[in-house]
């Protein structure tokens, strides 16, 4: 086993390079991914190494990036398309949900769409509007798409390799706020695209998160340990399909569940996960599941984004509620109940 220390961005770069190396039908397409190496330098050096025909600078048309990648798929190419920022994906929405997702079903399995769509997502980078969003739930709602994320350089490397090798279309959401976080990467470690991963064991409360929020959850677990509370942290990794089994297994032991993500909570991954856990492990629950998410608002100007994003303290506050401990909402809930306002 050989490991190397890489940033998450370099781990993605390594996964792309190794995939290009391993299969000459793999090619990359996206805006500014060539000479510039991408706005985050994730594709740095790849065009120089693999040539302009395999690392293609795309005209600025997101629907066309995805639509032409589908056409290339008919000829057996395995395209890795980059959408430059989360908030730029919407012009490609039809091609993704009405074409990419449905071609396999439409053709009774005779047309494979082995397309990977890389999307830097999430906030905390101090940027302008449309650069910090978490649109994963739109795509998780659509059958036929796989939606995966990564929380560490190792996860990014191994999951992206699996995504590119998959015959299903995969949206790979990269936590851009963690691009420069370093970690050990062993290129021989393989991953599937279906399973969650217990990243910290604990017996009191299960906290499920994905992407950039996993690190926040792990820090919450360390802080809680000081007070004698054991948090089990699950990195969901795959948003679609969701590995409900792993979460249910954990909740059967802890009896308590908190789900955290940056995306708004309304009709979200937490909505789905909590519903699924309640359906399957209702009798194991000791307390109502809680969630810590972005608010049901547009993503705010970045000067105040830290009040929007799930934080260590907001996660601990939710953990306290599941344990029946004092939380920030005690007085609020009492006050609202007395005025008859809905929670």
């Amino acid at each position: 086993m050989t490991t190397e220390t890489l940033t998450l961005a370099k781990a993605v770069n390594a996964a792309l390079a190794d995939s290009l190396d391993a299969d000459d039908r793999v090619l990359l397409m996206g805006e500014d991914i060539g000479k510039l190496g991408g706005v985050f330098r994730v594709t740095d050096g790849l065009q120089a190494r693999f040539g302009e025909e395999r690392v293609i600078d795309a005209p600025l048309a997101e629907s066309a990036i995805i639509g032409t990648a589908i056409g290339m798929g008919y000829r057996g190419f395995r395209v890795v398309a980059e959408i430059q920022f989360d908030g730029f994906i919407y012009p490609a929405f039809d091609q993704i949900v009405a074409q990419v997702a449905k071609l396999h079903f439409r053709s009774k399995g005779r047309v494979k769409v082995p397309l990977t769509i890389r999307v830097p997502f999430g906030g905390a980078i101090g940027s302008v509007e449309h650069h910090s969003e978490s649109p994963e739930a739109y795509f998780a709602h659509t059958a036929g798409l796989r939606v995966v994320t990564a929380s560490t350089p190792q996860e990014a490397y191994s999951t992206l390799r699996a995504a590119i090798a998959s015959d299903d279309p995969v949206l790979f959401f990269e936590p851009k706020g963690k691009y420069y976080t370093k970690g050990e990467v062993d290129r021989s470690i393989t991953r599937d695209l279906d399973t969650a991963n217990v990243v910290a064991a604990g017996r009191d409360v299960t906290v499920a998160a994905y992407g950039p929020t996993v690190e926040t959850a792990l820090r919450a677990a360390i802080a809680a340990a000081d007070e004698g509370i054991e948090i089990e942290v699950i990195d969901l990794r795959s948003i679609s399909p969701l590995d409900v089994d792993t979460v249910v297994e954990s909740v059967r032991r802890t009896g308590r569940l908190v789900v955290a993500h940056e995306a708004p909570g309304e009709v979200s991954v937490s909505s789905e996960l909590i519903t699924s856990v309640v359906e399957r492990a209702f009798s194991s629950l000791e307390a109502a599941p809680e969630r810590v998410t972005g608010y049901d608002t547009p993503y705010p100007p970045s000067a105040i984004e830290h009040d929007y994003l799930p934080s260590l303290d907001r996660i601990l506050d939710a953990v306290d509620r599941t344990l029946g401990r004092r939380s920030s909402r005690d007085e609020l809930d009492t006050a609202m109940a007395s005025t008859g306002a809905a929670r």
Binding site: L27, E53, P59, A61, S63, A64, I66, G67, T68, A69, I70, G71, M72, G73, Y74, R75, G76, F77, P91, D94, Q95, A98, Q99, K102, L103, H104, F105, R106, S107, K108, G109, R110, V111, K112, A143, G144, R146, S166, D167, D168, D194, P241, L242, V244, D245
Partner: protein
């Protein structure tokens, strides 16, 4: 570095004032400097073949329309009047070339050899796709307007990367030219000089909206702004369509990049069997276009060439009858899919969640068996 941007070159477009035509309404041959060199091999026998193809295509269309009215099919988008606009290009394709078409381009599926048994499934609401795309080299019929133009362009880019001379044909209508995807496809085809041909059948209507709602200028002028050569062709003239397609396909095949063809034609039927065109167009217009019928014109041309038209018509009728019989049998006797088809082919391998839902549905169905 100074960058000069060339102005759109109107010379890139031909036929703007008067659509290119080589067969006049009375069947006489009109000279065309552009098209004639590409028709030198079209003798009486070749024109007869095109005639038989058009008769078969029309019969497929009228039979499917009747089957829908009789309740054997659930929906049909007719192509009546557009036979030449489709048969001309379809017969200029090589078998290896790929077609990315919309839902009204039945002639391409038929002439590429689609099995009518499976073809009928789509219009019987038994399936979303009517053939094996890789076997036929034709993508499933596209319903989202214009979306397939990008797939065609991507296929063509890939063909170029493979140093292959396979080309892609993107078929869409006048309404689609307003869609972003078609405009993006023109940008990409031009930027990458992809071997793709855009065939726009301007049948004058996008459901109820006349083409004037989409554009104040001839559609064939648009590609010139993208640097793509364009031909405006009489879409009811099978020879002009055949020659124009040969020019465009050869250009694409030999590294000359994309071409746009506007086939000026007319949808004489409704948008689909659920549409009522009387609400938005008048009878006189329909009569005017019926007089320009693409099949009648070829009959007259064959007569002028001295063909034995009784024999030609008889042969065409036999072939068309066979086709109609085959389609009717397929429509009347197709086997309905089981409910399990809901859950199949969603992913490469079924997910646990979908397997679970399939099991739940079966259990529910078993629980109510005999109770209704």
């Amino acid at each position: 570095m100074s960058i000069t941007v060339p102005a759109p070159d109107p010379a890139l477009a031909v036929g703007i004032d008067c659509p290119l035509r080589v067969l006049d309404l009375d069947g006489s041959r009109l000279p065309s400097e552009l098209l004639d060199p590409h028709l030198t091999d079209i003798d009486e026998s070749a024109l007869t073949n095109l005639y038989v193809d058009m008769v078969r295509v029309r019969r497929l269309d009228t039979e499917a329309f009747a089957l829908t009215r009789q309740g054997h099919l659930v929906l049909w988008p007719p192509l009546l009047g557009q036979e030449a606009a489709q048969v001309g290009p379809a017969r200029a394709l090589r078998q290896d070339d790929w077609v990315f078409a919309s839902y009204r381009e039945h002639a391409f599926a038929l002439l590429k050899g689609a099995d009518l048994g499976e073809f009928a499934h789509v219009w019987k609401a038994y399936a979303h796709g009517g053939w094996d795309p890789h076997e036929l080299r034709m993508a499933p019929a596209q319903i989202i307007i214009g979306a397939q133009s990008l797939h065609a362009t991507g296929f063509a880019m890939a063909s170029k990367l493979d140093r292959s001379d396979d080309i892609a044909l993107a078929c869409f209508g006048d309404g689609a030219t307003s869609e972003g995807d078609v405009n993006e496809a023109l940008v990409w085809a031009s930027a990458f000089q992809a071997p793709v041909v855009f065939l726009c059948q301007n049948n004058q209507y996008a459901i109820s909206e006349p083409v004037r709602v989409q554009s104040s200028a001839p559609l064939a002028l648009r590609p010139t702004g993208f640097g793509i050569p364009s031909m405006r062709v009489d879409g009811n003239d099978v020879l002009a369509m055949h020659a124009a397609a040969r020019i465009a396909f050869e250009r694409a095949r030999s590294g000359g990049g994309p071409t746009f063809i506007e086939a000026v034609t007319y949808r004489r039927g409704p948008h689909t069997t659920t549409d009522d065109p009387k609400r938005y167009r008048d009878e006189a217009e329909l009569e005017e276009w019926t007089a320009k019928d693409p099949i009648d014109r070829v009959e007259r041309a064959l007569e002028r060439m001295g063909a034995n038209m009784d024999a030609v018509r008889a042969e065409a009728k036999i072939r068309a009858d066979e086709l109609a019989k085959e389609l009717r049998a397929a429509a009347e006797h197709a086997e309905a899919p089981s409910a399990d088809a809901i859950f199949e082919h969603v992913y490469d391998r079924p997910t646990k969640r979908i397997q679970r839902q399939q099991a739940e549905r079966r259990a529910f169905a078993a629980s109510i068996e005999g109770t209704r």
